[in-house]
Every structure is written in structure tokens, then in C-alpha cells.
């Protein structure tokens, strides 16, 4: 697996919902073994792009090229667990589709990494929201995928869990070379994790900026000048709309 081999390539993708054009002439590529982050405000079409890339939705037009026949796994924005199966059965359910149901030690490892080893027989409704998210996450790795789509896998988790899980996927990625395609709202997270960052904006119906980061993941720190520069740039892009609050000061004072 050379790093430069392309895993997934989208060309000239267009997608509209009724009157709303979400993606317009979108191009994107991910190399094998990369971590690629998608960054953008709510409604900018991140999930839509994911669904098209993963084959869950049809684009109106465009071309999708894959490297041979990669195995996809998908971590949904909100956990989609079978409520009538316990944690381990939920993993077995997807493993069965690839004849992997006998790989108990893989499951055990994943449960351990996600700190869920005591909850293998718990049903989803017995798990906290955060635990469900972790289960959703490790399910993807239980099928030994080539490419994992992760739609905000760390959303609304506390800092500690978030750091743990970030670590978890980077360790797995480092050891196995699985390609990761990840949506996040947090620019720092993207800068710390990604080899490549795509920034999307609803106004432009697609990708407005691509950032490549060469620095080794383990050595990155947000205070590093290169990363910090990227962060400032990203913040600038996002803070376009913040300005007009200042002049409301007088009114606020008057009305309260």
C-alpha cells in the first residue's frame, strides 16, 4: 500500500434537494491510508457528500472512482444500533455480512480500547449517549474495513472521552493503514488528526479550501506555528458573520 494510491475519487458531483443545491461540481480525492477531514458549518452538505461517497445516496450527476472494491464502514452522525441486540451482538450483526463473526478476539480488543469491556452484554438503551457513540464507532472497525466514514463521531462528548477516542482511531489507523474519512466541527481536531482537510461552505455549494498537513501526527501541537497559522485562517473563514453584534451594545443596554 503506497501512500499515494487513490482510495476514493469524486469528480464533478452535483446534488440538489428540490430547490436546494447542496453540492455543485464538487471534486475530492482521498489517498489510501490517509486521514481526511471534512470541516464546515451545519448545513454545508458534509453528510450529503458522505452519503453519496458511501453509496447511500445517488448524486444527480458526477463520477465516483474507487480503488478496486474497498470495504466501507460507516459511523453515523447519531448512533444507529439495533435496540434488540446487546453490544456484542450489534458487532456480530455486521461482522456476519463478511464472515467475520468468529473473530471474538477482535471484538474483545475493540471493546477494551473503547473502555466498554464491561458492557458487552448491555443493550443500547442501557448505555449512556457517550457509550452508544463509542459502540457505533468500534462497530465500524469490527468489519476490518478499508475505508471508514466517520460522521462527527466525537460530537457532544466530554473532553476526556474525546481525547481517548481520537487517540483510539489514530492508533488503529497507524497500525492498520485503514483510510479514515472524518467529519468534524472542530478545526483543532481536524488540524491534529488530518493529512488532508477539506473545508466546505453552504454558500459555495461545496469545497472552498483544501489544506494538506505533512507533519507527523504524533508531533503535532496546536501551538506549533504552522498549525496555528492554519487555525487562524480557518477561524477567519468562519468568523465572517460574527462582526455585526458589536453595534447592538447600546440597544442591549437600553432594553435590559
Amino acid at each position: 500500500m503506497t501512500k499515494e494510491q487513490i482510495m476514493l475519487k469524486l469528480k464533478n458531483i452535483n446534488k440538489s434537494f428540490q430547490d436546494l443545491t447542496v453540492l455543485k461540481n464538487l471534486d475530492l480525492e482521498i489517498n489510501q491510508g490517509e486521514i481526511c477531514c471534512l470541516l464546515g458549518p451545519s448545513g454545508s452538505g458534509k453528510t450529503t457528500l458522505f452519503r453519496i461517497a458511501a453509496g447511500l445516496e445517488k448524486a444527480d450527476s458526477g463520477e465516483i472512482t474507487k480503488n478496486s472494491d474497498p470495504r466501507f464502514a460507516y459511523v453515523f452522525q447519531s448512533p444507529r444500533l439495533l435496540p434488540w441486540k446487546n453490544a456484542e451482538e450489534n458487532l456480530i450483526f455486521v461482522q456476519k455480512n463478511y464472515g467475520l463473526e468468529s473473530e471474538k478476539s477482535l471484538r474483545d480488543l475493540l471493546f477494551r480500547l473503547a473502555k466498554l469491556e464491561n458492557f458487552k452484554t448491555a443493550y443500547p438503551d442501557e448505555l449512556s449517549g457517550g457509550m452508544q457513540q463509542r459502540l457505533e464507532l468500534i462497530r465500524a472497525f469490527a468489519v476490518k474495513p478499508d475505508l471508514v466514514f466517520l460522521d462527527e463521531p466525537f460530537k457532544s462528548l466530554d473532553m476526556k472521552t474525546r481525547m481517548n477516542l481520537r487517540k483510539l482511531i489514530t492508533v488503529i489507523q497507524a497500525e492498520t493503514g485503514i483510510t479514515l474519512f472524518l467529519i468534524t466541527h472542530d478545526p483543532e481536531e481536524a488540524l491534529l488528526l488530518a493529512d488532508r482537510i477539506y473545508i466546505m461552505a453552504a454558500e459555495k455549494q461545496g469545497i472552498i479550501k483544501e489544506i494538506k498537513i505533512e507533519k507527523a501526527r504524533e508531533k503535532r501541537k496546536i501551538s506549533d506555528p504552522e498549525l496555528y497559522q492554519h487555525l487562524e485562517n480557518i477561524m477567519d473563514i468562519f468568523s465572517d458573520l460574527v462582526s455585526d453584534l458589536e453595534d447592538a451594545g447600546d440597544e442591549i443596554k437600553r432594553l435590559f
Binding site: 466501507f72 460507516y74 444507529r80 439495533l82 434488540w84 455480512n97 443500547p124
Partner: protein
């Protein structure tokens, strides 16, 4: 059963019995039999074997018709859910079926099924339970979480596994609730149908007791009906519900 019907109820029951006994004391047993008389009548029908015999006949009819209604109700619900065209066609028909009074069904059934003693009650139970099953299953299908199906597709799950592992368990709670509601209907309409159009079963015995003015027997049969219904609702179905509700709240 003890967990469901709890102590205070027994106290209430005691008071009901007390009121019953008091009212019965002032009235002819033909109008309102006392508890003792009802119990006596119950003992009589139990000992004569007619209780068991009629009970089995009614139960058999109910189970056949109810079983048919469950199967057809599920199939209809699946078909109508799947094909919107069928839905617009048959949905109002089901309302019409539901709106038709049982009396009319019975008189139609007499013509359609002739002398066969079983068919009229079976038909009535069937036609009364079918819409109940259908409506509940259909609701269950509409409330189903399609996201799980998409998840399964994202992981290349074959079609038959999606049906078995997602559709079926998704529908179980709706099914159990449909079974429970429909059973009450089925049981009561089997009695009604036998009352009017059969010559065996509990309903027929009720009608005989009624026409002989054996009010004590009427009460005895009623007690049998209620007890069985309570047994099914508070014991059998409760068990099934518990089994299913393991993950229902989610």
C-alpha cells in the same frame, strides 16, 4: 398474576361482592342471583362437563379465527405499507368493515356459510379482529426506524437478514399490542356470534341460560369469560409484553 393485580384490588373486589350480595338479597334470583347461587351454577356446569366442552369449542373457534386474522392482518398491513396504491384503495374499505355493526355481519354470515356451525362465529371473530390487527401493525410499520435499515445496507447486509433481523423485531412491540387489543375483540365477538348464530360454545350456553331465564347460569358463564380474559390479559400477554419490552423503551 400477583404482581399485576395487587392487594388494594382485592379489597375493592370484596366491596363489590358485598354490594352484589346486598342487592341480590332483596331481588329474585331470576333478576340478580346471589354469589352463592352463581357459584352453585358455576359448580354445576363445571361438574356436568359442559363448561369444559363449551370452553374448548369457543376457544378453538377463537384461536382459528384470531390466528387467521393475525396472519392476514400482518400480510395486508405489509402489502398496503409497501404499495401506496393498494393503501389508497383498501384503507377506506377497512374503515367500512370496522363501521359495519356485528349484527349485520352475522346476518350476512348466516347466508354465506349456511348450516356449518363453526363458520359463522369464526367469520365474525375474523372480520372483527382483522381491522384491529391491521391498524396496529400498519401503525407499527409507519413508526419503524428506517435509519436502521440504511445502516444495515451500509454494511452490505443481505435482504433476507434485513427482514429477519430488523423488520421483524421492529414490529414485535406493535404486534404484541395488536395481539392484545385484538384478543379482547376476538373473545367478545366469539361469544356474541355464538349467542346469535351457533348451537355450541360459551355464547350459545349464555343464550340458552338467557332464554331459560337461568340468570345464575348467565352469571356463572360470565365469570368464566371474565376469568379467562383476565388470565390472557394479565398473565399470557403480560408475559409476552415483558419479553418484548426488554428493548421497547428505546
Amino acid at each position: 398474576m400477583k404482581n399485576s393485580i395487587i392487594k388494594p384490588f382485592w379489597i375493592l373486589l370484596f366491596f363489590i361482592f358485598l354490594i352484589w350480595e346486598r342487592s341480590a338479597a332483596g331481588l329474585n334470583s331470576l333478576i340478580l342471583p346471589s354469589i352463592g347461587e352463581s357459584y352453585q351454577a358455576l359448580k354445576e356446569i363445571a361438574l356436568s362437563g359442559i363448561l369444559l366442552e363449551s370452553f374448548i369449542i369457543t376457544l378453538r373457534r377463537t384461536l382459528i379465527a384470531y390466528g387467521l386474522a393475525v396472519i392476514l392482518g400482518i400480510i395486508t398491513a405489509l402489502l398496503l405499507y409497501r404499495f401506496k396504491f393498494l393503501q389508497r384503495t383498501f384503507r377506506p374499505l377497512i374503515t367500512v368493515i370496522q363501521a359495519t355493526p356485528p349484527v349485520v355481519w352475522v346476518s350476512l354470515a348466516v347466508v354465506w356459510f349456511g348450516v356449518a356451525d363453526d363458520l359463522t362465529p369464526i367469520f365474525l371473530i375474523f372480520i372483527v379482529s382483522l381491522p384491529v390487527i391491521f391498524v396496529n401493525i400498519f401503525q407499527g410499520l409507519e413508526d419503524m426506524n428506517v435509519e436502521l435499515v440504511e445502516m444495515a445496507q451500509a454494511y452490505s447486509t443481505p435482504r433476507y437478514r434485513i427482514l429477519k433481523e430488523i423488520y421483524l423485531p421492529s414490529l414485535l412491540p406493535a404486534l404484541v399490542s395488536a395481539l392484545s387489543i385484538a384478543f379482547a375483540f376476538a373473545w367478545k365477538s366469539s361469544v356474541f356470534a355464538e349467542f346469535i348464530a351457533s348451537s355450541s360454545g360459551i355464547g350459545y350456553q349464555l343464550s340458552r341460560a338467557n332464554s331459560m331465564m337461568a340468570t345464575d347460569r348467565l352469571f356463572a358463564w360470565t365469570i368464566v369469560l371474565i376469568l379467562f380474559m383476565l388470565f390472557v390479559e394479565y398473565y399470557l400477554l403480560e408475559k409476552l409484553k415483558k419479553h418484548v419490552s426488554r428493548w421497547k423503551n428505546d
